[in-house]
């Protein structure tokens, strides 16, 4: 069972649909009590950093998330904004992140590359830095759908699982113990996203 955190930011529909296509049971969790029972967590998210953190805080989910991940060692996959929230903060906002990883977000600055625009919206590939159960059966030909204006910068380079390129390289997949994050949207990335979610379900 995968618990998908529902904190009022949109787009859980497609994630739940994709998980059901993977054949894994998934549920929405929106309260501290529900989250406390989770054995595997997906933290989705789109939109602004502070909006996301405020929504988690208002629902009282921040401490439970930290406890589940840091103490109970429950695997978590942050997706897009959800990945950015795993870190300590972002140039985009004022609020502190979940603080699960030593990472912070910076704005994409593909300036000097002429016509590349922000947000980065489109398909991209990933270049893995090391192997991981999360990336089994994925290769250089795998494509993923990105929509973001900010990107994660890891303080510990060991946490970087893969990078992608938009003008310059940015971190697209992170892994630190039981903590995983992807900048792209696996739920919108055809069989490649399906494979990644299946991998996460098997971890």
């Amino acid at each position: 069972m995968i618990s998908v955190v529902d904190y009022g930011v949109a787009n859980l529909g497609s994630m739940l649909n994709m998980l059901s296509r993977v054949g894994v049971e998934a549920e929405r969790v929106g309260t501290r009590e529900e989250l406390d029972g989770a054995s595997k967590i997906i933290l989705p998210g789109i939109g602004a950093f502070d909006t996301g953190m405020s929504a988690l805080t208002e629902r009282g989910l921040v401490e439970t998330l930290r406890k589940k991940v840091l103490q109970d060692r429950v695997p978590i996959l942050g997706v897009c904004l959800g990945m950015q929230l795993l870190g300590i903060g972002s140039e985009e906002g004022e609020l502190r992140g979940l603080g699960l990883m030593e990472a912070a977000c910076q704005r994409l600055r593909p300036e000097g590359y002429g016509r590349l625009k922000v947000p980065h919206m489109g398909w991209g590939r990933i270049a893995r830095r090391r192997s991981s159960p999360l990336l089994v059966e994925l290769d250089e030909q795998s494509r993923f759908y990105f929509v973001h204006s900010y990107h994660v910068v890891c303080n510990d380079p060991e946490d970087v699982l893969a990078v992608s390129s938009y003008g310059s390289d940015f971190v697209s997949v992170v892994e630190r113990g039981n903590i995983f994050g992807v900048q792209f949207h696996p739920e919108k990335s055809h069989r490649f996203g399906l494979a990644l979610l299946r991998n996460f379900a098997r971890i």
Partner: protein
């Protein structure tokens, strides 16, 4: 570079069916939308845009869109009849990635900002339908091409960006359904004036046309007829270029 160019089937809905128009007129039934999504899944398309041309002045068909969202394993945008942030919220919750605003954005510009506040700018598409008159002057038209706003597309695109739109869907009414190529001058002038991505639509009939759109400044290219018709007799056949052909095209 090649991967950054999205190639997007732009599908028109009317009364729950898929249709295709010529110059925003004479709509022809081309099939079932869910079936089309399944085929486009198999073809691993970059993205889909659905525009309900019968929905202006009505509610979106939420039931149909929920079905489409559950089938679509690619990002998809929806436009048609969205006039309130509540409707947009409901669409996002259904699994629609982006909400397309056209007529309502002209009537209520604030709506663009309100929807951007809900899900971020990247989830709001400002759609502009442009008609070129006999003196080659451009003007923005709304309500499915029935009402002239007497507004310059470049200025309106900049205003949409300022309001919070994350991209511009730039359609040419004159070129729609003709498969004779995009309005390249229009694409050039609008994409040079905004810093958000411009998606060109209207007129593409070949891969070469897609490339031309990109060469004139479009960040992504959309088409209807190109992906639903086949051959000179326009038999209905849902197609999409092979990945390797697209990569070759945008190399």
């Amino acid at each position: 570079m090649s991967l950054n160019i999205r190639v997007i089937p732009c599908l028109l809905l009317r009364d729950g069916g898929l249709v295709k128009t010529v110059r925003f007129d004479s709509s022809r039934y081309v099939g079932d939308p869910i079936n089309a999504v399944r085929i486009f899944n198999d073809k691993e398309v970059d993205e889909l845009v659905f525009l309900d041309i019968g929905a202006t002045g009505r509610e979106p068909n939420f039931e149909l869109l929920a079905d489409i969202a559950s089938e679509a394993f690619m990002p998809f945008a929806y436009g048609g009849g969205v006039t309130s942030p509540e409707q947009a919220k409901r669409l996002f919750a259904l699994g629609v990635e982006k909400v397309v605003l056209n007529t309502a954005a002209v009537h209520t510009p604030r709506l663009v900002s309100d929807v951007a506040d809900i899900a971020g700018s990247s989830s709001v598409v400002g759609s502009i339908d442009v008609r070129r008159n006999w003196r080659s002057q451009y003007s923005v038209w709304i309500s499915g091409g029935r009402e002239d706003c007497r507004r310059d597309p470049v200025t309106w695109a900049q205003e949409l960006e300022r309001l919070g739109a994350g991209e511009i869907l730039l359609g040419s009414i004159n070129q729609d359904g003709t498969q004779s190529g995009y309005d390249l001058e229009l694409i050039h002038s609008v994409s040079a004036a905004v810093s958000i991505p411009v998606v060109a639509v209207g007129g593409a009939g070949s891969l070469r046309h897609l490339r031309e759109g990109v060469d004139h400044g479009a960040s992504a290219v959309a088409a209807g007829s190109l992906f639903v018709f086949h051959g000179k007799h326009k038999a209905v056949l849902i197609t999409y270029p092979e990945r390797k052909d697209l990569e070759e095209l945008f190399r």
